[in-house]
Symmetry: C2
Subunit: 253 residues, 2 copies
């Protein structure tokens, strides 16, 4: 399992300010700190609400590439934003993410196929809703994989993300359990002919809830996902205690 | 995943004293405390060096059964000791354990088959050595399973234990990694037609090393094994902090 940092995102005030001032240096410094904290990949998320975000993706990718040599995950629900990042990315990034939403199938999938990039398949249905059950999650994985293969991607290019819940959701703990099981099935080769690559985002768990739930909730989930065979854990690698709390998990996975 | 307590064993001074004095009450009290701490099974290990241990197994089983209603794991490398426990056990216990050692194949396997009990298969070779690699562990699992099926046990009766190392062993961390992977493969149904039940003992990790390695080493391994699909975790459930440290892991597995 490797760690990918989700710190380079628009809700991070350091990022927002750097984008506002078009100053690449804070972004480079942030990227370097993520690498030092153990990140082997960086997720780049500039937001997506306006045309401006396309330019911001390009600016972030450019800036970060000048700071560190880590592979990038371009993170946006908007194909236009992803395309701008792709255009300036020196290596081949991972695109994050496809769901069964018609607009994404129509726009993001062809983009990934045209550039032959790796692609994250978020297990979300055509309305962007997660499936409540394990069976539902696997059914979404099957359908997303079929769409991706039909578009010209290979199984090795696909990365399945079971969508970790926020712990304020009414059935959140049950969802966490089902996400861990989904990773185990997908990574273990129980669903497809090949053992699949998987990714899970940990930050959503305690988003707005860090005073309610301690960091140990996140690291325990990380350990269980790692045990289940997770390929990439997307996390706030700079939060206090995370590096120490995830060190042994990384060594053992 | 369920927890099995390994506290009812001869190296526990409370147990040693109770056996010396033939006083069932401390054993019953210990069993009750294990249950309160979250144990859903109790491992009974009276030692095995002399005839005396056969009587001690019977005494422990009798005593514990009068104290709590938990299923028992009879733990001894000696078929005679296991047989004495079986003779007085009210429910059907799990026998712990078979290895590829000729004496155990000759004595413990027929005992399990005759009583049609569940049986732990320790992944140890004919000299009682663990296999250093994942491939070696799986090969041992395949051979042990073949022997057990040939003796008349069914796949559902078998529980595979990958043998967690002591952290003083030179390649201990690598061994932990391989144990987690072995559980993932066995539990995930990647090795046999059926997803297999698995068990792992956590106490050996920090045996004589509790001042060197904190409890978190044990709970992190527990979380990763749980994520990998472990069925039974054998642990010192009464050590300070264990109940709190394992609570979320149990809820999520």
């Amino acid at each position: 399992m490797i760690l990918a940092a989700d710190n380079l995102q628009i809700f991070n005030p350091v990022v927002a300010k750097a984008l506002e001032e078009r100053d690449p240096r804070p972004l480079q410094e942030l990227a370097r700190r993520c690498k030092e904290a153990g990140a082997a990949m960086l997720d780049i998320n500039p937001g997506f609400l306006s045309k401006r975000h396309q330019e911001r993706m390009a600016f972030m990718v450019d800036a970060v590439q000048d700071g560190v040599d880590l592979p990038l995950i371009l993170d946006s629900p908007d194909a236009g934003v992803l395309a701008k990042g792709l255009a300036v990315c020196r290596g081949k990034p991972i695109l994050n993410a496809l769901t069964l939403e018609p607009k994404k199938l129509k726009e993001i999938l062809p983009l990934a196929a045209a550039h032959q990039t790796d692609l994250v398949l978020l297990l979300l249905d055509e309305r962007s809703f997660p499936a409540p059950t394990l069976e539902g999650k696997i059914a979404l994985a099957v359908e997303l994989r079929e769409r991706a293969l039909a578009a010209g991607l290979s199984p090795e290019q696909l990365i399945f993300d079971p969508v970790m819940p926020n712990l304020s959701w009414p059935d959140a703990w049950e969802q966490v359990r089902e996400c861990i099981k989904a990773v185990r099935l997908l990574a273990g080769g129980a669903v497809f002919p090949e053992p699949a690559r998987t990714m899970a985002g940990l930050s959503n768990l305690r988003s707005h809830l860090r005073r309610v739930y301690p960091l140990e909730v996140e690291t325990t989930c990380l350990a269980m996902l790692a045990g289940a065979g997770l390929s990439i854990a997307l996390a706030d690698v700079l939060q206090p205690g995370f590096k120490e709390g995830s060190k042994l998990i990384q060594e053992l996975s």
